[in-house]
Symmetry: D2
């Protein structure tokens, strides 16, 4: 059995989660078609890199991600850094002929995202982006049902991804609140997931959007040190201005005439993870709500009229991805399991020749829609996606 | 105990529901501060008027609503006709010094609605509009909690009113599909309820909207005869063009800085009555979903952090309106009960001197927002509500 | 069109609810096959009788229910008194050849209940008992699906009816806490509804039960005056011993081999109306939860395996009873609507020759099961229903 | 940092899940207070042992579990075999002074379970049993709230664990249907989880039970080969008699006066994992439903009466176990995460001196209750738990 050597950059939450996923792959999927080997872990903080390499099970560590690029034994470069480093690392990896697995959002603007996608395609390397929510097997089921015409022609979509992880005003300022680092607020961070759900379900590029971005908490306490989701305020007593959006609302229209809207928020007090969608078609509908994480609701306009209704389908081992973990339905597949499935898709693409999904191009197209949303908000008008130069 | 003589126009579903409500009032509320008397029922179809008068319990009937206006003994004119007759009947009633209870939407455009509101205010008569959804006692609770600052300053709102009563393409053409009669589609019919929920919760006029209106089913079978919700197709085999919207999506901004969005639909297959809202504030939130009709969800950012969450509050006899019907909580108050509560509010306004709510002005302001939505859709841009002349 | 003259005894909540229902019947059902006329209202308290007669719309009132029996013009005697008066009134009415509509529980013991059923059957009068929960149209649908074999052979049932209307210990003592008046506690009061759901769904008499009855709050404040659900404590400061059960748990087995269990409670803090059932069969299942009052969940073991799941069916106007009130599905039919449907069933039985359902015998059989439950609890063993002499 | 060498027996689903958990521990918990080392994997089938050792990441494999016992370097023996081997392996491990981590149910009868518990206690080794459902952090919260008196004195409990993994009659016969191998049916297999939930929440030994056991599908197709949850029927066409229960219903009473009931099933068609409980106390209640896997509902009888209700608390990083995986609340912790938390508890007990929970004694006490249930069913009467000799 072949092996794939992984060089992973970034030892935060996502880096850890990726490492856990590689370590679970050979158990869940028997190390087929290849076994990932945790070769090098890079983090800009050498002390963190050293400790994390030990805890995550990497053979080596480094403070310089370029060592990974320069190492000819590395097969896959796995990028878990802040967004503003994605481009440099991914482009270097592609140039070195390596496959790239990058967390979302791919970049902070469409132009660089398409540059990355084209470079990777030209180089013939596999790329994958961590839109993990669509890796939940119920999303494969949803996609298949829609593709098979089970709901007829889709005509309306509602998406939501509202949370409150930055809801309290005492949560300190972080890179997420800083446009220079994050590019945008929820529209980029969470919007990426929202449009991934949409594009996963229907093959219709978004053509037009109108968007409203809003900063709900205009200043936050300066943090003791910059951290990801760290919620401990620093003791300085200083306040920092927030310049990225906390809430985004979008209406859209696709090439195929599908319309709909989306809401995304990180300050919706009380909504911990109010994530989901509803897609209506001419013969039925599908809908999904994250708090019933393993369940899909399906409606068909057929059968006796007085017993029609949304069927609540619970995921089970009829799906082989699910069956790799659990022999019975509804047992509680979770976020980390879906991440292992994502890693398995990556390995099947690299070592098994299956198409990579979702790849850099998928992410770049989403980034272009996000840029159109930002333009729409700035100019307070409907914006066409093709107004965004790429 | 005093009596209030009712002249009711229109013997369809709403006419029947109003009549049932008057008949229940003296039981639920002891006929206080006055007892409604079902005096005259008018319907343009004399045969229907005759039969309905008997079934509904009216003393008399007529095919000409002007008889009601001319009858000096009538206290309240109750208008349940198609929308395009509201103006003439209500204006005549006001001119005759009668109180007016009118079904929503008040009219098909803002200008006439404000004309009606001003005429009524000048005449000093009581007006009420049948936005019955806000009469559910849980909505009084919600309004009070928001007014009391329990959720802090409201900053985001999501509303939905998606149904599928016109979802199947074989449902025949009716006046709802005809712009000449209905003025608009869901944006007027259902949008009225959506904005009523919003205005009921927060005292902030909507200032700006962007709206997308969509016809999903462009033609329908010609009906055997025109009817309200009748779903029996005629046998003619002919198709009629639909020119009113089936789905409406709206984003809005209020004077107070609240933003949000709404979805309304009559063709969302499988969604029988997907009605509800979510209002987020700086210290908490309230939300309501119609399929738990007697329940309100309330979130407060206080108490021990690890036991915060949305509280599901079930309506009970702590509310006197509810207590008029049921001595224990959660027993299943329904649509018709809320309509009786609406009638009781009317009677208390007419005979008890309480402020009428919601009155013609409330409805007119909503109609102006709806007109702005139609303008926004037509010109594919954000529209200010004050662009609509009144 | 014919009329049916009603003599109603008891002006409490149920009396009022029945009167509201009669008044709504001619609107909802066009007064067909007959129109009820509110002729006489009796209440032992003459002042209450007088006031209620006026509010409820009765032509006359009396403090002596025997006047109703003696009045040859009365067609239906409607009994809404405390349980311990049901027998005398109903037997007198039957003896006078009148039809009887009686609230549940029919009596406090099986022997008298069967005596009543047999007397009525011998007299050839129509009887109906107010098990209103099974009048919800979704229950007709459930019953039909089961009868049609849609779920195969039923093999397991779970029922619950847990509320907390007596949950707080400061709620004063009432007749419900007094065995002399109420016969038993929840097992009789609420158990009647639980077994009605079961018997409505499956035609299998319960054969054996094991039951545990429990008093959770052993003493309560003496009330200012005895009242139904009144929750105002008296000011005497005295406590009264409770001798009726607050919680009942039952396991059972039917003649057909169906097994299951039930929970009923009036002290389950926080559960306002946690009412519902789940019935599993060899090919599927149905389940119902009262907080989605208009919805039935149906499961069928057929179709593609990976899209099976419980279908959530929302009641709509495909059901004629529902259609009498609402032209569109899911609009919020409630408790009082179901009571009107019950009255309509009564009128169709009396004036239209349809079988009365559920009648005294239905109630008597339930009462026998309840008595077996009480026996089982007392002797701490499984009890056979046929141990209860009738 | 110290290491703990693991010898794991049984390469089925649970063996795999345990191995995954050990491999995730150093990532989630930094390998503290010790790092598990996957040393030897034993499976009676040498080929499976060999393959699984490679996939699971073990250093060595064997077909004879006694090699693990005899290996002085092994610290923890991890038992994932069919139930009937638990005793021999665990007793040998204890005799060899090794710590033991064993899947539930600990054994097929109470006597052997207590023998195991006493042997382990005498030997001073750590024991842990895989009641993983109570390792979900929301269950720690629930236990703490109850212990802190937040719901007052508990008085009623409802538990359910109804699934349908053996619901279809074409699912072939397996060891679960064979009393000789499994000891009992759901009462032992699933009942263990049900009573674990109960005992986790309240410190009150169950004293009395009445139980009904039922075989719903009396014969099943002979399997091609015996397997765990394998649902592929063999092709022999032969049928095998089932002699273990498919459904169990239990009513119980604890020493402290708590009463309640439980339902457990593996044939409830449509219910994939209908798992949960409701515990009512004198001042509130807690309830949990597995399909909202990260959420606990809490009711308190305090605050303004008209805004009381069950609070839906979503798990988040305020709990350190949860925080080891996810930095934001409600993100989808699942079954496998909880298993890692269980392994972490094991490691903290072995290497960190924390009390092991739940240990063999916890499991033995549950097994005694299960034996009392079986006795109750056999003799059709209430049974006292102390009737079961240990």
């Amino acid at each position: 059995m072949s092996e794939l050597k992984i060089g992973l950059v970034g030892a935060g939450w996502m880096g850890k989660t990726h490492a856990m996923s590689y370590r679970a792959q050979s158990l869940a999927f028997g190390g087929k078609p290849a076994t990932p080997v945790l070769e090098v872990l890079a983090d800009v903080n050498d002390e963190i890199a050293s400790r994390a390499a030990r805890e995550f099970g990497f053979n080596r560590h480094t403070a310089d991600w370029r060592e990974i690029i320069d190492d000819p034994t590395i097969d896959i470069v796995d990028v878990n850094t802040p967004n503003d480093l994605h481009f440099d690392i991914a482009m270097a990896a592609v140039a070195a002929g390596k496959h790239v697995y990058c967390e979302k959002p791919l970049t902070n603007d469409a132009k660089t995202a398409f540059t990355m996608a084209e470079a990777a395609e030209k180089a013939g390397v596999v790329t994958m982006v961590g839109f993990n929510y669509i890796k939940n097997p119920v999303q494969s089921l949803a996609r298949r049902l829609v593709a098979d015409g089970e709901i007829g022609e889709p005509n309306y979509y509602r998406g939501s991804f509202s949370a409150d992880f930055l809801g309290r005003p005492d949560i300190p300022f972080s890179w997420r609140n800083d446009k220079a680092k994050a590019g945008s607020g929820v529209i980029g961070d969470i919007g990426a997931h929202c449009f991934a759900y949409l594009n996963h379900l229907v093959d219709q590029p978004v053509e037009e959007v109108v968007c409203d971005l809003k900063i709900v908490i205009p200043e936050r306490p300066a943090p003791a040190e910059h951290g990801g989701f760290s919620q401990d305020a620093g003791a300085t007593g200083q306040m920092v201005q927030v310049d990225t959006d906390d809430v985004a609302t979008v209406m859209f229209k696709t090439a195929g005439g599908l319309t709909g809207h989306m809401e995304m928020s990180r300050v919706s007090l009380g909504k911990r993870m109010d994530v989901g969608y509803e897609l209506t078609g001419t013969e039925g509908g599908v809908r999904y709500f994250y708090d019933n994480i393993n369940s899909l609701q399906v409606y068909k306009e057929d059968g006796a009229q007085d017993t029609r209704g949304f069927k609540h389908v619970v995921m089970g081992p009829t799906d082989p991805r699910y069956a790799a973990f659990y022999p019975v339905p509804g047992i509680g597949a979770g976020y980390n399991d879906f991440k292992v499935m994502e890693v398995q898709d990556l390995i099947e693409a690299v070592a098994g020749g299956k198409p990579a999904y979702p790849d850099f191009r998928f992410a770049a197209e989403i980034q272009r829609v996000i840029d159109a949303c930002i333009l729409s908000d700035a100019e307070r008008r409907w914006a066409r996606v093709d107004e965004i130069a790429i």
